[in-house]
């Protein structure tokens, strides 16, 4: 153990707290929970986001207004506040009784993780918040498609739904892969806020390590490196996806290399 001076501070580093039992297991648990929560929330965001992108560009006034309201509401309020809302307020909308109690005290052991209301609220909060942002990205992608292509699709006999299903959404999604990568990265980083509603993800576990060992700098360094590693892995994956699915001649400049 050596005493180090960082910026005039005396501090004794003990990096072994990051792999000693039980702290190492805690961090691994946290990584697993972060990854599971983020991936499932991303699925929610993608499904809702595609629906929003469709409604925001479709020629129907009322659904479009509703989708716009949804986007503006969830995009313009802080995620932290939304998480508290999902955790503390949403179940109270149910009538008092066994259903509400069951939701509040949910405790279902699955092979992957414990499904409790902390997890569900995190999933709903993170998924819905991100869906508003994803929906806007997809709308931008659809609107970037030349009008003639929509007209061509419709005049070839496709219905509006078919035009979206076979032309606009697939092409739109391929155009917006780079900004979608940013959203995908954000969901992992934003998942750290689930610590505030008691979900045991990476930030939670590093705080546990700190509170048991008082080695805060080591714990926060671990959190930083874990998020960085997750993000870089995803960025690499999204880059491959981008190279593979970029539409030549559209945004492909520099992205496709033979």
């Amino acid at each position: 153990m050596s005493v180090s001076r960082i910026l005039g501070l005396q501090y004794e580093f003990r990096w072994s707290v990051l792999w000693e039992s039980p702290y190492g297991e805690w961090l691994l648990q946290g990584i697993k929970n972060t990854v599971v929560l983020s991936l499932l929330a991303w699925l929610v965001a993608l499904v809702l986001g595609i629906a929003l992108g469709f409604l925001r560009t479709a020629p129907w006034r009322i659904p479009r207004a509703l989708a716009t309201g949804y986007v503006e509401f969830f995009r313009n309020t802080p995620l932290l506040v939304q998480l508290f809302f999902w955790y503390f307020a949403v179940p109270q909308v149910l009538p008092a009784g066994p259903w509400r109690d069951a939701l509040n005290s949910l405790n279902l052991q699955t092979p992957i993780l414990t499904v409790n209301y902390e997890f569900l609220a995190g999933l709903g909060g993170l998924g819905v918040y991100t869906s508003a942002r994803v929906g806007e990205t997809i709308r931008a992608g659809i609107q970037a498609i030349p009008r003639q292509q929509t007209e061509a699709a419709l005049s070839s006999g496709l219905s509006l739904g078919q035009a979206y299903r076979y032309v606009l959404i697939p092409v739109g999604l391929r155009i917006v892969i780079p900004p979608m990568a940013t959203e995908f990265l954000s969901i992992f980083k934003n998942s750290s806020l689930a610590v505030t509603i008691g979900f045991a993800e990476v930030t939670f576990q590093t705080q546990q390590v700190n509170s048991y060992t008082f080695k805060g700098l080591e714990a926060v360094t671990a959190a930083t490196l874990i998020y960085l590693a997750i993000s870089l892995t995803i960025a690499a994956f999204m880059n491959r996806l981008e190279r593979r699915y970029a539409i030549p001649g559209l945004i492909a400049r520099g992205a496709t290399r033979e």
Binding site: G8, F204, Y212
Partner: protein, 282 residues
């Protein structure tokens, strides 16, 4: 809100600290500012009341430290209160962002490795807050049940040790934990008995709640001060000793914990004797 931020603060604070050698007393003398950390929902130690005033027993003690500083340094000193959470209080003192933390912090030997503690200003221990008539009488009854605690507290650790079979749900502050208990997300909330009594007393229907079980941890409260600055620790200690000797400590206690206090929690004869014993002769 929590650690990542506090460590960022730590680095920033450390980089603007003029010299390592400066003691807290010298710094206060130079700046005229006592920067103190305390809590916002630890009733009645440090909390924000309906009138939006930041008050409490620990806040009164900080005020006494400020008044004694003015006398010693012969110049006006301002008390600057900063909010801390159980997760931030130790890093913020360790990196000297705050000069002292007085809230509802338990003195433990583990924490003493990183920061210093003053003599104790209060005694309590971990208990459970439950809905009246819940059938839960002690920590033995919560096996397999969802029980709440504040993350990073001695109570959370004591709960995990005393009842390894409980499903522990953590919260960032007592207000959130109490709300979860009220909504049935957890069957019991664990923290120091005095804080539970405070949560119940401040609730809409205090009669709906009861504090149950023997103490399953002992929690003597102290203020946190930076490591290796014994002059400053002495100063805070002597402030408390003076208050004990001149009886003001017991008046303050009565104001907050007496029968008409915010949280009735009468002082036992044992604790009274202990407090008097802690005060060294002049």
């Amino acid at each position: 809100m929590r650690k990542p931020l506090s460590v960022a603060l730590l680095l920033v604070a450390a980089s603007v600290t003029p010299a390592l050698a400066e003691t807290v007393l010298e710094k206060i003398g130079r700046t005229g500012l006592l920067t103190a950390g305390t809590r916002t929902a630890s009733i009645p130690f440090a909390f924000i009341n309906e009138k939006n005033e930041w008050i409490g027993f620990s806040v009164d003690f900080l005020e006494a430290v400020r008044a004694r500083l003015e006398k010693k340094l012969g110049k006006p000193i301002k008390l600057d209160k900063k909010e801390v959470t159980p997760a931030t209080r130790i890093p913020l003192v360790a990196n000297r962002t705050i000069d002292v933390e007085c809230g509802s912090t338990t003195y433990t030997r583990g924490r003493d490795e990183t920061v210093d503690f003053t003599i104790n200003f209060f005694f309590t221990g971990s208990q459970l807050l439950v809905k009246r008539g819940s059938g839960i009488k002690s920590v033995a009854d919560v096996a397999g049940k969802r029980v709440g605690a504040t993350q990073g507290t001695t109570n959370e650790k004591a709960l995990r040790v005393s009842q390894p079979r409980a499903d522990v749900v953590t919260f960032q502050d007592h207000a959130a934990g109490f709300l979860a208990l009220d909504q049935g997300k957890i069957v019991a909330y664990v923290t120091d008995g005095i804080l539970l009594a405070g949560l119940a007393a401040k609730s809409k229907n205090p009669k709906d709640w009861e504090v149950v079980g023997d103490f399953f941890s002992k929690d003597p409260y102290s203020c946190i001060v930076p490591e290796n600055d014994s002059k400053w620790r002495d100063f805070v200690n002597h402030t408390l000793m003076e208050l004990i000797d001149n009886g003001k400590y017991f008046e303050m206690y009565d104001q907050w914990f007496g029968e008409k206090g915010v949280v009735p929690y009468p002082m036992s004869a044992q604790v009274r004797n202990y407090m008097i014993m802690q005060s060294m002769p002049e």
